[in-house]
């Protein structure tokens, strides 16, 4: 059981019925609205046939390595990070099942960041030339690929807003709410989950030091907004957390 806080029964994956292709892959990102012919489904299944397992700490790819494929996470948890010469690192994202990694490498055919497994994970490899070829034949797939890339751009803009104009409390609240929302979308509890990353990694992602993360979590706990126990988090007062971020909808992180 990878997800200790998995909800009782609940809709495991909300729109499972529309997940025609790649259902074995848990490719939420590729859940197409979807009217494919049997032959098209066969092609999609073939495209997503390469599966691979990674252990915690394994690199899915490294900055500088050659780009061949996009990767869809089936199970597990990843982080992506860019490294600065002088040792500074910046975590650029945390990825969950159904999300796609590797989009950054398309531009130069070379990966511009590292992708590291934060727990034992399974991925589905999508050879990019095959994906492009297939998307020339299937306009729906083409559009979907574009949407995925565009969504990544919007997500990044959200993080720029966060890094550029929010205070520590707001950043952390936004982060927790975002995790909450993404767990909920996958059928897990939106209020209790386990952090897969360290304080250091959260801090790097949010542009703060690990001590600030720790302090702010403690502060939230004192104020009954959350209950923290090491990597276990329970969100006690979602409305208050949302008010902190200054908006009712979840921010795309």
């Amino acid at each position: 059981m990878q997800y200790p806080y998995k909800n009782k029964v609940q809709k495991a994956v909300s729109n499972a019925s529309t997940q025609i292709a790649c259902s074995s892959c848990n490719l939420r990102e590729f859940c197409l609205p979807a009217d494919f012919t049997a032959d098209e489904v066969r092609q999609l299944d073939q495209l997503t046939s390469i599966k691979r397992a990674y252990r915690r700490g394994d690199y899915l790819y490294r900055s500088g390595s050659k780009f061949e494929s996009l990767y869809a996470i089936r199970t597990g948890f990843f982080k992506t990070q860019v490294l600065h010469e002088d040792g500074r690192e910046q975590v650029t994202g945390f990825q969950m099942p159904g999300e796609i990694i590797g989009l950054d490498a398309i531009s130069t055919d070379i990966h511009s960041c590292d992708a590291v497994a934060l727990e034992d994970s399974e991925i589905c490899e999508l050879p990019f030339d095959k994906l492009e070829e297939l998307s020339r034949q299937l306009p729906t797939l083409q559009r979907h690929l574009h949407k995925i890339m565009s969504r990544e751009i919007v997500r990044d803009q959200g993080i720029m807003l966060l890094l550029g104009s929010m205070r520590a409390e707001e950043r952390l609240a936004a982060f927790l709410l975002n995790l909450s929302q993404r767990f909920a979308a996958r059928g897990y509890s939106s209020t209790a989950f386990r952090l897969r990353m360290t304080r250091q990694e959260i801090g790097s992602y949010l542009g703060l030091k690990l001590e600030t993360i720790s302090r702010t979590l403690s502060y939230f706990q004192e104020n009954k907004l959350i209950e923290v126990n090491n990597k276990s988090i329970e969100l006690l007062d979602l409305p208050h957390l949302r008010r902190l971020v200054g908006q009712e909808r979840g921010v795309p992180l």
Copy 2:
């Protein structure tokens, strides 16, 4: 003359010869490596046929408006910004001739940010459905479109690194070097140019207050790194500025 600091003669646009299609458009982003047939060129020209002029301060599109087209800047200067409910604004980018705006809207068919002209500008509108259709027929165009989107993702990651782990001096140096590099790539002086944006806008982009921008520019000037006069900037010590950023290559902003 839009660009007072335009270089004497110099290669106006470095690889002009490869700019088969859209040369009238100055679509640097669409400079394909490129072996198109006459018919394909005709199709590309048709795609890029819609031109439009904007005055300083005009909105190219607004957050919330419906997505129809991508926009290629032919001449002029734009900024993109996302607005927070509570009035906070975050500038997400400054765009120059040859760059593409509007990629964020593909994900939801609704624009997620505003695009505002910082000076009188001309744009070339690219209806997105036509672009997708054509890119299904022309793999080279398809790949190019993907690279453009991916490049935007890499750029955003660079800004996340900047916002997340750099100090004011470093951010501003990175910003100036980035402008320098982009002007140079367009045949303008890499060391003397006019800022099209206010201190406030630079600050918003870099996650700093306008006073900090002003102070840091003054500090750079005291140290003979640059010469500032209102919106006119001259970079006097590129090596030192690069050292400040902590890397020799230009950061993608």
